[in-house]
Symmetry: C2
Subunit: 199 residues, 2 copies
Amino acid sequence: MELTTKEKIIHSSLALFSEFGYHATGVRKIAKDVGIRESAIYNHFKNKEDILTHIIDKYFDSTFLLKDNINLNIDKPKSTLLDIAMSFKLLSYDKNSDKFFRFFIIEIMQNKNVRDKYLDNYLEKQINALSSLFFEMMQKGLIGSSDPISLAWEFLSSLFFYRFQISVFNIDRFQSSNTIASSFEKHISIFWNSIKNSN
Amino acid sequence: MELTTKEKIIHSSLALFSEFGYHATGVRKIAKDVGIRESAIYNHFKNKEDILTHIIDKYFDSTFLLKDNINLNIDKPKSTLLDIAMSFKLLSYDKNSDKFFRFFIIEIMQNKNVRDKYLDNYLEKQINALSSLFFEMMQKGLIGSSDPISLAWEFLSSLFFYRFQISVFNIDRFQSSNTIASSFEKHISIFWNSIKNSN
DNA sequence: GTCTATACCGAGATAGAC
DNA sequence: GTCTATCTCGGTATAGAC
């Protein structure tokens, strides 16, 4: 697979941004990594920030969105939840997705554009989708009655943290990520055990 | 309370670092915020990185460590867990601690020194302490038998995420943090409901 | 589309007067 | 301990030849 220069620039930039941060990464470094001169960068991107924007637009979805063939079969509620958790786990152990994740965590804290994307395009959608799912389950009597939004937060929180933690381990303690490899499944087990209707 | 120049530098630096990041914050900006010239900074710190090091050393503990008067009364297991959660909540809604938290999240991803502190001085200790607590509870038959380390991860994960999320909301959607204000308590309720021994 | 050369700026940092 | 003045370096970005 032959990458165009533009693709190479994006690829190198992302690798450097996710390791050193956006500000600490110079255009010279990017150019060197690609194998061209700084000036050649500007044939493909307006400026440095333009590279950042392209990366965000191109990779945000693939970094955060779960596989969309999740079986939302309401009659098998526990395995539906497990499916979602496994989708998180898949992303966590995907090398590329993990790199983007680190990059985005940094940018969420510093870049309003990324932060808004995270809050509106990701978090809110996830919470809404999960709330609906739990609401349905309650109506069918599969789980006890309570606030579906709170359940959604509780369900998501652990999955997100495990992904965060694996991402931190993966920087320079790759082996340690094994210690929480089974946490995604364990979460479903504990969570389901708490909310299920036991009649 | 009169702050020394050195303290003022640390204070201003932290505010700027946590808002714009370490690399995006110049020594000139810090000096201006303090009300002195750049050169005067160097009477107090060797260089810019030296300021960073001092901040980390001075504030890491107060950012992450829970209040140490938590009552680890094993005979009231649920309220012990609630105490821990409330300690998290307290830190989340403390304005200063919240600022440091954002700063440290960024640095965890980019700075090996901070990352090691997070992993060794914070995370491992927390997991160990919680594991011991759950182990004791199992031995006393207060909760069902399972892997105490997994329980510790599951318990901590939600609390950490809620803190993370409140910190993100607090940047420019202060109002939204209310939506998860009760999540800390809710977490204890759901978690305890799952692990308690019901005999 | 990439190169060389260069402009320009702001960064971190130092010397020495006060 | 702070100031002014200044240095050097590396950053982003552009002009114009090939």
